[in-house]
Amino acid sequence: MKKIRIIPRLDIKGSNVVKGIHCEGLRIVGNPKDLACKYYKEGADELLCMDVVASLYQRNLDFNLLKSFSDGIFVPITVGGGIRSTNDINSALRAGADKVAINTYAIKNPQFLNEAVKKFGSQCIVLSIEAKKRPDGGWEAYTDGGREKTGIDAVQWSKKAIKLGVGEIILTSIDHDGIRKGYDIELISAISSFSPVPLIVHGGADSPDSFLDVLKKCRPEGLSAASVFHYGDFSIKDIKKHLFNKGFPIRYEL
């Protein structure tokens, strides 16, 4: 049976792992190599590594850094941040990425997704969405690390990207990011209710029960979290044990 994935997320700036709140703030919480290693040993099913300033500073993510910390990590790594060309995707894959997440460039150039899918296959191209609730309903998609409005409806955009062939979606709730008050169930349901491709959700995890809650209500394929792991609220193993004991399909050894 296919298992639900627990995916720690490393937001990277320069040579550090940082963690913001509502996608703002660059507080250093650790070192990519140490954290990647730690989470791998604790049983992470996958790692999500996003350069959160690449688009903002209009530069590329550091492929050399990626190479250095992806050593010794024998679970999949999805990498994102400043991906703007098929060359970038190729460089990322050669540096240790298994999947590549794209946001800013794809929103501005949706056909790029199709181009990337044709070259690398759907299963390698992940759509990253940063969504913020609109005051009058619905959610707006943001770019550049949650800083630039696009005027584009996040749900509609996800549908379009699926048609263009993306194999997976990573959905980040800007409203719930970093505040540890639970996942954004409303946002997640809006996409999980129709998405024919796997969905990984991020933003707001606080307790083992918040993981349980989102699984019960929306059943995403992957649960990503950052603050709770980086700040040591609990470990990946704790989460997996909790979900396993509650009868969910989790890769977990007793």
């Binding site: 709140i21 509502h22 996608c23 913020k132 949650g146």
Partner: protein, 412 residues
Amino acid sequence: MSPIKSRKKLKSSEVKYGLPSEVVFCKRCIISNQRPNSTVEFKNTKEDKKETIAFGRDGICDACRYAEYKDTQIDWKLREKELIKLCDKHRSKNGYYDCIVPGSGGKDSAFTAHVLKYKYGMNPLTVTWSPHLYTDIGQKNFTSWIHKGGFDNILFTPNGRVHRLLTKYAFENLLHPFQPFVIGQRNIGPKFAILYKTPLIFYGENQAEYGNNIKDNDAPTMKESFFAQNTTLENLFLGGVSAKSLISKDKISLNDLNPYIPAPYKEIKKLGVQVHYLGYYLKWDPQECYYYASKNTGFQVNTERTEGSYSKYSSIDDKIDPFHYYTLLIKFGIGRATNDAVQEIRNKKITREEGVALVHRYDQEFPQKYFKEFLEYIDLAEDKFWKLINSGRSPHLWKKEKGEWKLKHIVK
């Protein structure tokens, strides 16, 4: 490396505001030597020459020098002990207020009030000088500060008509629309201190950290001349015009002046009012203030980045604020992104290179969002706005190229 030498000696008429004629950028943080120091606002007139940030021969600015000093030379444990001593001296024993914390509920005042109350056991009365025009997020954060953070608060809103008029004059005469706000904000702490007989006032950080006279950082307190004066109608300047002149021209009346008159020396001395900077006692880090405020007072960032910058949490409560920064860009060639970036470079959140990328991308962005509202607020036609803006550009900073204004010097 010696500062950039200009190719020709500039005539004094080509350099406005008494600024240095050569433009130099700090090698560490990207601020330029055109950055003006803080002024005593109620003495500010059009003819004033600006004092600017000092640079060393090594091309490093005083603010960076201070940041290094902050990091390496200050014994923060000792400084905290001084704070505790100060708090012990003033802490209320009968439930009355023991300090005044002026602020708006932004990240800095949120941090200041909260840490004083909940860590150091003080009983602050928070006082707020109203923004000219509240933004939604500003209002939200202000409310959250009081209701989630948990503070008594007095919100003082000046007569809107007078305030608008003074803003208009400040813009037209000084290209400084924020002046009425700054005056009021500096006055409010001491005036409520006197009213409530609570002499201890806490601000967050000392503006000296950003480049005022570096020696100003050595003291925990604000110079009295910044918030106290024996003012007369002749020596009180609002919007660049003397109060006497404003009254004689029937623009405002004597009754309208109260919020803008600083506390008199006599009362300040009698009560022993002191304005302390919390940033003297606790190592100030605006980003950490954000995290703290987010956690403890429900502070929320703006939904989008601020126009002219990349930040989502810096100074987001007043619709006039973007025009304050825009006029800084026009007068000194320094935009909002520069202001936000230099502080983050000094606090080691971003590198100089990253700061440069942000400045290139955002510094000159025009604040379109509230432009119409701003013009309405100061009752000014758009063409007059641009006429004033363009006349405020110093020739040593700006040039016209193919009908467009361009900065002569941009940091690299």
